[in-house]
Amino acid sequence: MLLQQLVNGLTLGSVYALIALGYTMVYGIIELINFAHGEIYMLGAYMGIVTFGLLTALHLTSPSSGATLFLMIVLAMLFCGACGITIERLAYRPLRNAPRLSPLISALGVSIFLQNFVMLAQGPRDKGFPHLFVHGGIDFPGGRLSAIQIFIMATSVLMMVALQLLVHRTKIGKAMRAAAQDKQMASLVGIDVDRIISVTFMIGSALAGVAGVMVGMYYGLINFFIGYIAGIKAFTAAVLGGIGSIPGAMLGGLLLGLIEALGAGYISSEYKDVFAFAILVLVLIFRPSGLLGADVSKRV
């Protein structure tokens, strides 16, 4: 059972990690807990269904081809990225200099708005995700590693590696890191901070979109409310790993997934969230900035 739980946990954790990345990137640059991020993930999932419906209705691809899946993911990324930028422009940019809590409330408002918008546009019922080509798997003693689980973990790792490369090897990544460190200085050396912030939102939202499509495939069922819970979990994961740190979000996500799976399997499925939060508190007691968080020394 242990191996199966590990597989369960890592798959779950990969999804959390992808969403947590968006949280952490945005926080790193403008110190905002973007509560609407969970809803972006939900939008990605719905986008997947819409893309699939469109493609099959226009007979452009067949339901079981890789091209369909590829297009679903890409379009979800584009759509969510666009949504992320729009939200930033409308709800957060005007509040850049406002008291700390105002953008938070704005984010909550966006979250409620998006949830209800999707509920009205797509209906309150759960929607089934199309059955795609990913079948089969590997059996091992004690359990089964399905193809879709492999796909999810692989895609997540791929995305994370791509993100790391982007942030550390490209010019725009350098600009992002600079802006995260000190916005004023970054603008003084000629970086268009507003544009960088938009790019950050775009990337974070795109990643959440990918997570949405994959989750749709994995569970086969989505509704307008999935962003709420996923958002809280991903936020917890980001904090666990140290909010603001990209490797931290990845680590936090995977760890949270594992804790939940092992907790539910071995201890109690009812108290698994209590267990997860208890671990979070313990970690924060000993490392107040999260596992990989920057050691915030008090500058006097």
Binding site: Q4, G123, L221, N223
Partner: protein, 370 residues
């Protein structure tokens, strides 16, 4: 602005108000409460549709007591606090009766307020025994109770399926856990202790960890107390994990979505529900009308709310009054010929005959088990 304008507007306002008052006095209002929006909105829709058809039928026959029937909606979004708010609103509006609520956790606190306001409440969907056990005179329900449902499910598993290793899961809600507990009670009477008993959280998607732990105990059957969104996921994930246990559940899962979305995984599952409405001849007219009016088939609770509305309106007509206690008395005494057959209520407000049977998912459809 001259003084003349003031008089004009005042006169106009008075006229409008008078018309509104007169109109109101010539109508009877029914309150319909339930999760009309939100994640359980699909069920709220069923409550709405059933009542709408009933009211339209009555209004076509010039209403009740010579007055037109109006419906006022109360959305509680399965939140007890909102249910209380809706209840106060209904009492205020002087409704003649209430069809609702759906969730037991909403019907129960609301019923106290309706009781104080002397208003009859008929619930088409709350199955928790507590609702009627308190003996409030104004509370009725057209659907069965969880202790009836759970008993039937448990007996089916033990006697028909002949399974002894049974795992029990629930969704930690008043309904889901209540139903699961009733099932466990009956199982224990048959000297069977569940090999696993645990809860999952509504709204979560990933139950693989729990199911993996359940799988360790090698259950032959899994009973789930809860509603269809989680049931779909549980069934799918059970099969993906290679579990062969038979999936059994209650009325909250008797929804076509369960079969549609769970697909092949749902084949061979069993669900308790009321007897096949298409075989009840009294229900045919209603089912046809529903398809014509809304373009879809009746849902699990549509007919219950249709029946509830009809009983309420008939009682008002028979007692020729909108007086709560009189209506309640009549409902309790009379024998009702409804779209679900003949119904009678007991002292507590429950239907006398336990109307639950077992259905099987066969060939992509629900089929009643003989």
């Amino acid at each position: 602005m001259g003084r003349r304008w003031v008089w004009f507007w005042t006169a106009g306002a008075i006229v409008v108000l008078a018309i509104a008052q007169a109109y109101a006095a010539s109508t009877i209002t029914l309150g319909v409460a339930g999760p009309l929006t939100g994640d359980q909105g699909a069920i709220g829709e069923q409550l709405k549709n059933g009542t709408i058809i009933a009211v339209e039928e009555w209004n076509a026959k010039s209403g009740v007591l010579g007055k037109r029937i109006e419906i006022v909606w109360g959305d509680d979004q399965h939140d007890p606090k909102q249910a209380v708010s809706v209840a106060h609103k209904f009492v205020n509006a002087g409704v003649a009766g209430v069809i609702g609520h759906f969730n037991s956790s909403c019907s129960i606190p609301a019923s106290t307020i309706y009781h104080d306001g002397k208003i009859v409440q008929i619930s088409p969907g709350s199955t928790n025994p507590q609702l009627t056990e308190r003996g409030l005179w104004n509370v009725f329900r057209t659907i069965g109770r969880d202790d009836q449902q759970g008993t039937i499910a448990a007996e089916f598993i033990v006697k028909k399926l002949k399974k002894t290793r049974i795992a029990v899961l629930h969704d930690k809600t008043t309904y889901g856990q209540g139903l699961a507990d009733e099932t466990v009670k009956t199982l224990e009477k048959a000297k069977i202790k569940p090999v696993y008993y645990g809860g999952i959280t509504q709204g979560e998607k990933d139950f693989r960890p729990v199911l993996t732990a359940v799988k360790q105990k090698n259950p032959e059957a899994l009973f789930y107390g809860g509603i269809y969104p989680e049931a779909i996921l549980l069934t799918k994930q059970m099969r993906e994990l290679g579990m062969k246990a038979i999936f059994v559940s209650g009325d909250g899962v008797w929804q076509q979505e369960y079969i549609d979305i769970a697909g092949n995984a749902a084949e061979g599952s069993f669900v308790t529900f009321t007897p096949d409405q298409t075989k009840i001849k009294e229900a045919q007219g209603f089912i046809k009308k529903h398809r014509e009016r809304f373009g879809s088939d009746v849902g699990a609770y549509t007919t219950y709310s249709y029946v509830a509305a009809n009983i309420l309106l008939e009682a008002i007509a028979a007692t020729k009054s909108e007086d709560g206690p009189k209506i309640a008395d009549h409902i309790r005494k009379a024998k009702w010929n409804t779209a679900l057959g003949s119904i009678q209520f007991d002292k507590k407000g429950d239907v006398l005959v336990s109307p639950f049977v077992v259905w099987e998912v066969k060939g992509g459809k629900f089929v009643e088990v003989k």
